[in-house]
Subunit: 236 residues, 2 copies
């Protein structure tokens, strides 16, 4: 049986098997070593994640936990029903870290491009997803400052629990043009953003001992099969 | 527990989670309904697949069986160690169809662009994979005619067992420029070829009742969650 990595998160996870998505890239990277299992739920926050985690996550070797973008929706704006207070977000992340023998990798929410959120979400998506959620304020449902507070809280939980963490919020903003370089609509990842997350996750898993160098390969590689006696590789 | 589809095949399967790969596209298509599990083994033929199938395939809801490209290597050329005679290929496919309650979908090998095989394989790949396999004949290791014979045999097995089958060999060649439209090196799929396989597999699974219309969605969609009482969706 191969080890399994569950990807447990919101829409950034649910959409991670699109062209060049970070989930698909992980599955390709580990194609002969690890099963990558998708458990992404668009729009979900940690409050809802805690309600469902026992149903959707069996004991796994590793879980990438990637929530916070929806928790960080502002409580007085149109995404309020997805908002989770900061202290509860931290408590929920503690609850999700519930398996003694599972490597839990936390991922912070990405930074937010507020102008792009206004431009994309309330002209295109809102009418499709929730026709009755209106945005009379003309303000974005998320701010970069709020996302940063949740990222900081996520890193604190990692420290408290001794868990590895990918600090997307900080790392992405180290690039001057992070808004267009990594994001497609001010929140979700474009191809380069997906590549960034993939590389960060691979690097972090490696520091935890989960890497191609350490994992057994499922069945002999073609280069290990003797052309003069191929079946020898499958004996025993 | 979500249903599982195993993708069991050779390098065309192992590489199916690259950019726009047919496996990744399937995982995205079924992101909230089905787990797509990768079991691709580069260079493998049905003889080796039969040796390992009990180890790598637990009882699954569905298995896409995509072998034949290596079986069809010609026995008197440089890929001879991968060759499996036609009658044994058929017998092996019968053996792989071993689960009474599993939907087995057969996929024929794709057509072969012999000129591209010569150009790509023996200048780039052979030295990397098997430095000691030489090609003094200057002839390709696979021919389109041979691939066609294995595709025909695959379709016969599907008929004998009452299994669905995707006839890639025939369907791809219905396009005049199939060699460049679908293939990257005369054998493996480019992005359009991957898209083609993805669409054919989705269509065939649908005729067998495995489609988004028929499958339960894992957890409530965000559009089904009441903004005024979100937790109601997670009761019971």
């Amino acid at each position: 049986m191969r080890p399994k990595i569950y990807l447990f998160g919101d829409s950034i996870t649910e959409s991670s098997f699109t062209y060049g998505g970070w989930g698909a890239s992980l599955a390709h990277h580990f194609s002969r070593t690890v099963d990558v299992v998708l458990r992404g739920y668009s729009g979900y926050n940690t409050r809802w994640a805690v309600k469902v985690m026992e149903r959707v996550l069996p004991a796994a070797n590793a879980v990438a936990v990637f929530f916070g973008a929806n928790d960080a929706c502002l409580p007085d704006r149109c995404g309020a029903f997805q908002h989770v207070p900061l202290h509860e977000y931290k408590h929920n992340l503690h609850s999700i870290n519930r398996w003694p023998n599972t490597l839990v990798l936390l991922i912070t929410p990405p930074p937010i491009d507020e102008e792009a959120r206004l431009k994309y979400v309330f002209t295109i998506l809102a009418s499709l997803i929730h026709p009755y959620v209106e945005n009379p304020t003309g303000l974005p449902e998320r701010t970069n400052e709020a996302a940063g507070a949740y990222a900081k809280a996520c890193i604190e939980v990692a420290g408290e629990c001794g868990l590895p963490v990918v600090d997307l919020w900080t790392k992405m903003q180290q690039l001057a043009d992070w808004k267009t370089a990594y994001l497609s609509d001010g929140l979700h990842l474009n191809e380069t953003g997906n590549r960034f997350v993939f590389e960060e996750v691979v690097m972090k898993l490696k520091t935890e001992g989960l890497s191609l160098e350490n994992l057994p390969v499922d069945l002999p590689m073609i280069s290990e099969i003797d052309p003069n006696d191929p079946l020898k590789a499958f004996e025993g």
